[in-house]
Symmetry: C2
Subunit: 115 residues, 2 copies
């Protein structure tokens, strides 16, 4: 299935399909001559992507970031630790020791040169 056909089946313009490939979100195989070849798998990705966007107002850059999170484990660890620091309820005035400890963990993650 060529890029034009894929576009007609999914509602994306060829231009956008090339853009999505550039962003690493939907990367089709190529023929020997360089033509993009979309299969069932890619079609489903494209339809799902469109649905995600309209149902949750998720941007392309957001999905790209989610991909980065899956691929770069350092980044994932740092972000997760930061999220913990953000989401934990945190008592009002006092700062319990474990909070400090959590935050230290972040600093360690973010300064790899201290090895």
């Amino acid at each position: 299935m060529t890029i034009g056909e894929a576009g007609r089946h999914t509602g994306w313009s060829p231009r956008m399909l090339r853009y999505l490939e550039e962003e690493g979100l939907v990367v089709p195989a190529r023929t020997r001559a360089g033509y993009r070849r979309y299969g069932i798998r890619e079609l489903n990705q494209l339809r799902t992507l469109a649905a995600l966007r309209s149902a949750f107002a998720v941007g392309i850059d957001d999905l790209a970031f989610a991909l980065r999170l899956r691929r770069e484990s350092d980044l994932r660890a740092a972000v997760e630790t930061w999220l913990e620091g953000t989401t934990e309820p945190s008592s009002q005035g006092v700062t319990p020791a474990w909070v400090e400890w959590e935050q230290r963990k972040q600093e360690r993650l973010l300064t790899p040169e201290a090895a």
Copy 2:
């Protein structure tokens, strides 16, 4: 610790601290008169945030999305399922049945009105 002091300690401008609050990334408590009150917890969040940005080139919107992922479980499930469809190795020409099945899972997640 007031917004100005927090800024001096972390390198953020007061303007940016208000912006970060607006985005839900670092939300300080308030005094009865409405002044923002930054504690150790917030200072650490701010420093870590700056480090994340410069070490991994992560945008503020990216972190905001990570927060959304943590809070909205529907969104998280949909994105994770989509990621699986994207990252799985996928054999060349044929489309094994389990891929179809995976993709169906996504469609189910994205059409809640089909209940």
